[in-house]
């Protein structure tokens, strides 16, 4: 078949963002112990309550680690060697004092990194009106547009600052959606989380701009344990963007982030992610292990939480952005494109837990697998007895670009209420030769045709991304497909 060679090329194409920024880094010694928790707390100058919180999570995690054979989650459709949790360094921070008032103070090397990634921080600040809280490793190094946000009473800062300045809010909500007992990786994150973003949008405020954070994993041997907390108070709206790229390296990197979203009455949170961490080389060596717990709760009536994700990176992806629909009439959405190639493995999906009455959820998932990769959708729709008139629609489509890869669908539907209406549909297919033929007959090259078809396959999801991101996402997908520097 004529397009086989091209698809093979796609599958083998190298990671285009493989470089490492050489910044001096301060690191914790490898291993996990009570001292390490104290070390992290000390380094970050945390109050006692936060230290206690970490220690509680740490003790719980250690109890899980003791019964590792029983407690380690192995249900996902993933194969990878066991992770040695004692070989990881749990804290890394850029050497320089990490709080800057303007870009001029930021290490020029970091700015250079962003430029290489095609994310011109300064350009975005001036032109797009995007406030960027750039996270290089674990400490926030640049925060912008703070004043503009402050005018509206919106808090957008690093988790560290929030613990210092807004302890009441943090105490109230941290761990309220994802408690440290939730799962293995959430327990680990709760014990050692390094930094992350904190957003609070006050009552009735519509956030005037997209809030954005770029994450980078940048130090050999350190995992990144982000902790993000977003609270949308009554009647407010916020759109949050998270984008990730990471430099090339040989050893596996563990990433276990936790994201918690809380939408109060009439509030809406839109959370968008582009994830493009290092997926490993052509032989499947190296690459990021991405074990993320993302969950939002529609706490109040008429609230809405929407997750959109474009997952193209990481060697292992284990990620299920979920919504607990607790408030009556609340809405949950999940839009996802997952692209895997080489030896990447993704097990991703969502959970929609309907508790309130008249709650609605929509799941649109598109999986594309190439090379030797495995791409699984795993999703749960649960309608509890209390959730009268709940409604769910799920559509999960998979596309296979080659005969060595796998695409899988594992939906779970748990219905305990007679008024529920739940639908799930899934298809698996390849790009039709007739489709390619048609495009070629119209004068398009085979490569352009494949790009066009894949783009169309994902359009429903990509259209959900905010404008600034949609462009980047389309570009990223095209680059991924191209297999050459674009």
């Amino acid at each position: 078949m004529s397009d086989t060679a091209y698809l093979q090329q796609i599958a083998q194409s190298d990671y285009k963002y493989g470089f490492e920024t050489d910044i001096e880094v301060e690191k914790a010694p490898p291993g996990l112990s009570e001292e390490v928790i104290h070390y992290i707390s000390d380094r970050r100058g945390e109050p006692d309550w936060m230290r206690e919180w970490r220690l509680r999570a740490f003790r719980y995690f250690m109890s899980l680690l003791e019964r590792y054979e029983e407690t380690y989650p192995r249900w996902a459709h993933l194969k990878y060697p066991d992770i040695d949790f004692q070989a990881i360094s749990y804290y890394a921070a850029p050497q320089r004092k990490p709080r800057y008032k303007s870009l001029d103070e930021v290490d020029p090397k970091i700015l250079e990194t962003f430029r290489k990634l095609g994310i011109p921080l300064d350009e975005q600040m001036r032109l797009a009106g995007v406030a960027v809280d750039a996270v290089m490793d674990s400490v926030s190094v640049a925060t912008t547009f703070k004043e503009e946000l402050a005018k509206h009473g919106i808090i957008f800062c690093s988790m560290g600052e929030a613990i210092e300045n807004y302890p009441e809010l943090v105490k109230k909500y941290l761990g309220s959606v994802v408690p440290y007992t939730d799962n293995f990786f959430a327990a680990l994150n709760s014990a050692v989380f390094s930094d992350g973003s904190f957003v609070y949008v006050p009552k009735g405020v519509r956030c005037p701009m997209e809030l954005s954070t770029y994450f980078r994993i940048n130090t050999a041997g350190t995992g990144q344990f982000e902790r993000t907390l977003i609270i949308a108070d009554e009647g407010s709206y916020v759109s949050y963007l998270e984008g990730c790229t990471a430099p090339m390296r040989d050893e596996h990197q563990l990433h276990a982030a936790v994201v918690e979203l809380i939408a109060l009455k009439d509030a809406e949170i839109k959370y968008s992610t582009v994830q493009n961490w290092y997926p490993g080389d052509a032989e499947g060596k190296g690459g990021v292990y991405n074990f993320v717990t993302k969950r939002g709760i529609c706490l109040g009536e008429n609230s809405k939480i929407s997750w959109t994700q474009l997952e193209t990176g990481s060697a292992i992806t284990w990620k299920y952005p979920s919504v607990i629909l607790k408030g009556d009439n609340s809405v949950g959405e999940f839009y996802s494109v997952a692209f895997t190639k080489g030896y990447q493995q993704a097990d991703t999906g969502t959970k929609m837990i309907h508790l309130g009455r008249n709650t609605r959820s929509t799941i649109i998932s598109k999986g594309i697998a190439a090379g030797y990769s495995n791409n699984s959708y795993r999703g749960l729709v649960k309608v509890a007895r209390t959730a009268d008139n709940a409604r769910n629609f799920s559509q999960c489509d998979s596309m296979l670009l080659g005969d060595k890869c796998g695409a899988h669908t594992f939906p779970y539907l748990e219905i305990e209420n007679p008024t529920a209406q739940v639908e799930h549909e899934a298809t698996t297919s390849k790009i039709g030769e007739d489709q390619i033929f048609y495009c070629q007959q119209r004068g398009l090259s085979e490569e352009t045709a494949i790009k066009l078809i894949v783009n169309g396959f994902c359009k429903e999801v990509l259209a959900q991304l905010p404008m600034e991101f949609a462009m980047e996402a389309q570009k990223l997908l095209a680059i991924e497909l191209e297999g050459s520097v674009g």
Binding site: D403, H408, S429
Partner: protein
């Protein structure tokens, strides 16, 4: 994992292991070396696998371990009470002109079976009789394609099963009349039954098989039944399995079909009775151009728990599978559907379709659906869908404007829902019988 075992804790598995040792000699094997070796292997495998625990994904929604805690009586040769023709008539399917095989407590009863006038070469008898009189056929097919290595219940059945029925249709023979197998449970003991059935359609053969299960006792029983189906090249097998047992009868009913090239297999699993019922239907394509159609209908009432598990293994290219399971859950019933379509590498040109639709009628009823696709080949067309909902309000409204009572309108709608599956049944008297049975339950 370390578990402290005290003298008082015995796993339910141990009871079976002990029972096996007690029966292992002549009771189970007669004089067959082949069988003795096989059973030994199976029980060892069972010992290793054990019953599925709480965390077993395949048993996520069916707490089987709890049911198996009950101290059922393990007896490979339970007594068979005498039954009259009159009693049997009560279980007949009207108008069905079929060869009749009667199994009581899993044992073949030749006096009650009508297996005369069979075409030449066709074997229809009890499993035990087949082992004695058709040893070559028996050894060729018994447990040959069965995956008891990984399935504890198949291993357990293989270790213990003594009787059941054996059907062999030779090459090119078309069995015009269907075979009706009547499974009756009639006992005053809390029996653990393990019938084993073998169905073979040699290349080019064709057969239709109807099995119906009934219980004539209020005693708690558990059936771990296994049916092996082999369809040779171009053979055609239609198999319909009716669960009409009473409220005290639980069981796991496993059917494993093995299809050679161009074979066509249809399975209809219709569950209208029982306490906890688990139906396992699995199909494996051995060669190209095979075709499998799986239909299921389940109607849960009272505190019934009905779990339908299907597995279609597309191991070779160019096969078609089509699956439709529909269910209605009333009262406090629980329904489970877990269907898996596996398309292995190189199984190109596979066409697989899977659909599960359920209606939950009450607040206490529940439905868990898990349709799965696991696909490793690219040139395939695989789709699945699942929907859980309720009756269409507009449809009911329309019927009511035509003067029908609410009850009648609902009954008609439910029957229409069920008919999507029932109408696929190719044995007409059986279809009519079920249609009436289901309609009766809804009051239509």
């Amino acid at each position: 994992m370390t578990t402290t075992l005290t003298a008082t804790t015995t796993r339910p598995e141990d009871r079976f292991l002990h029972a096996f040792e007690a029966y292992a000699g002549e009771v189970l094997n007669g004089t067959s070396e082949h069988l003795a070796t096989l059973r030994r292997k199976a029980i060892e495998r069972f010992g290793v696998l054990g019953f599925p625990g709480r965390k077993s994904e395949a048993w996520k929604y069916t707490p089987i371990a709890k049911v198996l805690q009950h101290p059922y009586r393990i007896d490979p040769m339970p007594t068979v009470p005498a039954l009259t023709e009159q009693t049997l008539a009560g279980y007949a399917i009207p108008e069905l002109d079929a060869y009749r095989v009667v199994l009581v407590n899993g044992r073949f009863v030749p006096e009650l079976s009508t297996t005369s006038d069979l075409p030449e070469g066709v074997v229809l008898t009890g499993l035990e009789a087949a082992a004695r009189r058709h040893a070559d056929l028996f050894e060729k097919y018994f447990a040959h394609y069965l995956d008891f290595e990984n399935e504890p219940f198949l291993a357990l059945n293989t270790a213990f099963a003594r009787d059941g029925f054996f059907l062999y249709v030779p090459e090119g023979t078309v069995l015009e009349r269907p075979v009706h197998v009547l499974h009756l449970i009639d006992t005053d003991e809390e029996l653990f039954l393990q019938p084993r059935n073998v169905v073979v359609a040699a290349p080019g053969a064709s057969l239709k098989l109807v099995t119906s299960g009934h219980s004539r006792t209020a005693q708690r029983t558990f059936t771990n039944g296994v049916t092996e189906v082999f369809a040779g090249q171009g053979a055609e097998v239609h198999q319909y399995d009716l669960r009409l047992e009473g409220e005290a009868a639980s069981g796991i009913f496993s059917t494993q079909a093995y299809l050679e090239g161009g074979a066509c297999y249809t399975n209809g699993t219709l569950t209208l009775g029982g306490a906890l019922v688990r139906n396992n239907v699995s199909v494996r394509f051995d060669d190209q151009e095979g075709e499998a159609h799986l239909y299921g209908f389940f109607l849960g009432r009272g505190s019934m728990h009905i779990d339908n598990h299907t597995m279609i293994d597309h191991a070779v290219p160019n096969c078609v599978s089509n699956e439709l399971y529909k269910g209605i859950l009333d009262d406090e019933a629980t329904g489970v559907f877990n269907g898996k379509v596996l398309v292995r590498p190189h199984a190109q040109q596979t066409n697989a379709y899977q659909s599960n639709k359920s209606i939950v009628l009450t607040r206490e009823a529940r439905m868990y659906s898990k349709p799965e696709l696991e696909i490793y080949a690219d040139d395939v067309r695989c789709t699945h869908g699942a929907a859980i909902g309720q009756l269409d309000e507009d449809g009911i409204f329309y019927l009511r404007t035509r003067g029908l009572t609410l009850q009648k309108a609902r009954a008609m709608m439910l029957l229409a829902f069920a008919r999507d599956v029932l109408d696929q049944i190719t044995v007409e008297p059986l279809r009519a019988y079920l249609d009436e049975l289901v309609a009766g339950r809804f009051g239509a």
